[in-house]
Amino acid sequence: MTKAMVLALSLFVLPAKADWQVNMTQGVTELSREIFDLHMLIFWICVVIGVAVFGVMFYSIFKHRKSKGAVAEHWHENTTVEVIWTVVPFVILISMAVPATATLINMYDTSEADVDIQVTGYQWKWRYQYLNEDIDFFSNLSTPRDEINNVQVKNSNYLLEVDKPLVIPVNKKVRFLITSNDVIHSWWVPNFAVKKDAIPGFVNESWVRVEEPGIYRGQCTELCGKEHGFMPIVVEVKAEADYARWVADQKAMKLISAGAASQNYAVADLIAKGEGVYNAACAGCHQVNGQGMPGAFPAITASAIATGPIQKHLDIVLNGKAGTAMQAFKQQLSAVDLAAVVTFQRNGLGNSVGDSIQPSAVQQ
């Protein structure tokens, strides 16, 4: 092989090697490290057993091979050997079960949490409700559609970035109450060693105490429909003071958005804002160009609803349509966003109805 060929091949091999991670994530919590250590303990026990069993087996096959004149012995039973090969695995299993059970008990101990957050899976986004703080928001994928459609170069957090991350304080026990609004999802953040199914009608619990502020990313890990791969999880862990500030900001923003809903907006402003809302909340199904996907998701362009009476249009957006994939967006978007997106759909995407709706009308 020539030097040039080696160099050319290494170009393919080296970056791939850097990206490789075969083992479990060690994570950033005491519990995640405990789980990792348990995983490694069991792994090494399996390695030792595997090497010993296959070692003896291959040695015996080789040493007593037929070409050397080995003759098989014929015997029916050996109680001593049978007792040994029954008792030894039994003891090994029990000795593995003891630390595993201890870790499981720790994992399930959600008591005495400092912060309680309800995590609800939606097709295809997550909703976070802080039970003691009156904070409630949706977390949507923020990767631009152009990156998904290979028009733009993909950034390093491709499909692992959201518009509003979940924010939690460092060194506090945070309890997650995980459920779903539609189908089964699963909330998974590898660095926390938390992976819990979100099941409609059930509440699963999990908890985390993160030791390092930072941004941690995860994904939905239960196949939940067309955009299953497009509902990531981003958790921002903040120092206590920063977290308190964030909570205060959220409450202030809620007051501001309540005030914003009572204002009147120019149609052009509503359309401009509505386009952004549409791309984040609607384009996944109805497509960026409003053409939908024939047979699955109807087009917005020239649709009877988007060009018909505005109240009926608003009603569908607010309450969804039973029996279809069309969700109710009443809880998901603010009054301003709802007014903007309805106005945009009627005056953009090839439609030109000419009317508009104000946030105050949406609230009614």
């Binding site: 039973e77 109680t79 049978e82 007792v83 029990i94 003891v98 059970t101 201890a102 008990i105 720790n106």
Partner: protein, 63 residues
């Protein structure tokens, strides 16, 4: 060996899933059914106690 002791040993072997053919045949010739039932119940209770004890030990070790 006493009949009941032999039944006890055979039942213990049954719990492990190991028994020699010789003992099995002897049990079917000499053994008494009620003695095996009593030995079976005894070992079941011992097994339950062992599982209970193990779980209590783990719970204690976690606290």
């Amino acid at each position: 060996m006493k009949l009941w002791l032999r039944a006890l040993l055979s039942t213990m072997s049954a719990f492990l899933g190991v028994q020699s053919n010789e003992r099995r045949e002897r049990d079917f010739i000499d053994g008494k059914f009620p003695v095996f039932v009593a030995a079976g119940i005894t070992f079941t209770l011992l097994f339950l106690l062992a599982v209970y004890g193990l779980v209590q030990f783990v719970l204690w070790s976690v606290d």
